[in-house]
């Protein structure tokens, strides 16, 4: 009631009729809307940060080995003892017995039995011991993690073996290789298609092309993977006559197909956003349509196209299903595009479901997850800061 009386009182001194602007009103709906929007924004950021923290935390044990056992042999490098596990280190081990688990060491293992995990269990124990030995290795974390850490920057990805090695180098190289191939395939196609749609196509054609290609963006990647696996791989092998049917080339093309809609849509938007006055000015100077498209429209849209390609890279980089189905999944380092590769994402996809919780392998997979996270973050950061900062400045002269 007091408010109302105030309202009635106020206008009096200013001689009525005038709108009073001196009294600040508190608008509940505005306040609430603002807070809700703000809260949502922060929530999404928080969730992303939390996911990253979780993923990274799970990979931390690899680094957190406090090196309780300062082994002189280890520093010497080539000593055979460095690969042993658990209590085994305390015993004087025969140099030949390198990579055995738990109780297995009690038995004189044959030197040949090194990497064949399955056979070892057959020789020594019941099949149930598999779990046991894993538990042992997981329990005595430090040594395990140290070896894992050491093998991290090698090229051998052999996580399930007597002597597991977690060399992610081949995975990284494979991922970059396949990303490179797919972008090399997708970017020119998508950009040219966008250029056609934006500058040449009649309105009716444009109204068909754009939604159609955009629809492809929602195509389940497993279907593309399936197509690559069954059709594309055989077709490309028939054409190029290489040995391995599933390789980074096939995978790259398939992933490129997945990336094209993204690159296309954003490039098309960037090209359409180029002021029409540029187009008119160029034509008025006696330039033909294609000259205008290539020398005026395309350069003016460079920042947008750059962002589009980076988003495409991001898409390919994290692509799991296609990588899993069409790349052959062999961790190889070579630069030959017709070799099978294994990508970071595919490795997680293939192995995470079967790994023992808390195991070194488990930790390494999370480390790979963190890596993917970081790479993607870096790519997006480049897109954000380089495009919005430097490139825009260069092009717009601000």
């Amino acid at each position: 009631m007091t408010k109302k009386t105030k309202k009635e009182k106020r206008p009096e001194p200013s001689n009525s009729g005038l709108i009073d602007i001196t009294r600040k009103k508190f608008r509940w709906s505005d306040y609430l809307a603002e807070k809700v929007i703000k809260g949502t924004a922060f929530l999404s950021i928080t969730i992303i940060v939390l996911i990253f923290v979780f993923v990274f935390r799970e990979s931390v044990p690899i680094f957190s080995s406090a090196k309780p056992v300062e082994k002189t042999e280890t520093s010497a490098g080539a000593q055979p003892e460095q690969e042993t596990y658990g209590e085994v280190t305390d015993k004087q081990v025969d140099p030949e017995v390198q990579e055995t688990y738990g109780e297995v060491t009690d038995q004189p293992a044959a030197p040949e039995v090194q990497e064949t995990y399955g056979e070892v269990t057959d020789n020594s124990e019941e099949s149930g011991s598999t779990d046991e030995s894993y538990t042992v290795s997981a329990g005595s974390g430090h040594d395990d993690n140290q070896t894992a850490l050491k093998s991290l920057l090698t090229k051998d990805w052999v996580p399930v073996s007597e002597k597991p090695r977690y060399g992610i180098l081949a995975l990284i190289v494979g991922t970059f290789k396949i990303t490179f191939i797919s972008i090399l395939f997708a970017a020119p196609l998508a950009i040219l298609a966008a250029l056609y749609t934006a500058s040449f196509a009649s309105r009716r054609v444009k109204e068909i092309i754009k939604p159609t290609i955009e629809l492809l963006a929602g195509f389940p990647s497993v279907v593309i993977g399936f197509f690559a696996l069954m059709v594309l791989a055989s077709f490309l092998q028939d054409v190029f006559h290489y040995d391995t049917r599933l390789n980074s080339f096939v995978g790259g093309i398939a992933m490129g197909i997945a990336a094209i809609p993204i690159i296309f849509t954003i490039t098309e938007d960037a090209l359409t956003a180029v002021p029409k006055s540029f187009y008119e000015a160029s034509l008025a100077l006696g330039a033909s349509k294609w000259q205008t498209a290539f020398f005026v429209i395309l350069p003016a849209a460079t920042p947008g196209i750059f962002a589009a390609v980076l988003l495409g890279i991001g898409r390919v980089f994290g692509e799991t299903m296609i990588a899993l189905m069409a790349t052959g999944n062999a961790a190889q380092m070579g630069l030959n595009p017709f070799e099978s590769v294994r990508t970071l994402a595919a490795t997680i996809g293939a192995e995470m479901a079967e790994v023992v919780f808390g195991d070194t392998h488990y930790n390494v997979l999370f480390l790979i997850g963190s890596l993917l996270f970081i790479f993607t973050f870096v790519i997006n950061a480049i897109a954000e800061f380089y495009v919005k900062g430097k490139l825009m400045k260069r092009i717009q002269g601000k």
Partner: protein, 252 residues
Amino acid sequence: MAIEKIHTENMFLHYGSKMALNNISISIPEKKITAFIGPSGCGKSTFLRSLNRMNDLIDGVKIEGNIFIDHINIYDKNIDVVTLRKKVGMVFQKSNPFAKSIFENVAYGPRINGIKDKNQLGEIVETALKNAAIWDEVKDRLGDSALGLSGGQQQRLCIARTLAVNPEIVLMDEPASALDPLSTSKIEELIVGLKEKYTIVIVTHNMQQAARISDLTAFFYLGELIEFDKTKKIFTNPEKKQTEDYITGRFG
């Protein structure tokens, strides 16, 4: 009157079903400044744009009648529109430099015409910039982006860009309407200087501007050409009542 450059006979233009130009017949002389004046929507810009066939870009435009430039019908089937636009350059209302450097903006025209030699390009750019009276302001920063220039400078750069192609006719669509008085007077000076070499057709909303710079003035109203005569005559002793009303500010 001097040699005839542009000539139209009974020209009609429709946007879809709406008639925008109604029976325009005009004869524009060479190396003079011809101004088109008239209220908004009277068709003067539309007419200007049909002189280098920029209206082709707009859907639903239909043109009847003939436009002759140097006695050649530019709406003939055999006309190469790209070359026509080299011959008939255009400066737009809103300055529209490309998102390139100052040098590249001016060099673009010659370059698409096949000039690759750097020295030659440099010369063309310098001449064009000098002709557009902007050389002294930009000669030390030719590599900078053209979008960093002021509005008036950008417009003069656009004029330089048009001149670099070496056209015979320069069409100007309200080239100074978005500029402050100082930049406007610079542009006007520039335009007057250009008539030695080029035939200039300028659309303007600013009647004082038309009176100051043009040799001939055409008054358009509702898609019709009401009166076309020497500027002095139009502004001092117009034949038609409508022209007089417009010029004296009774409507428009």
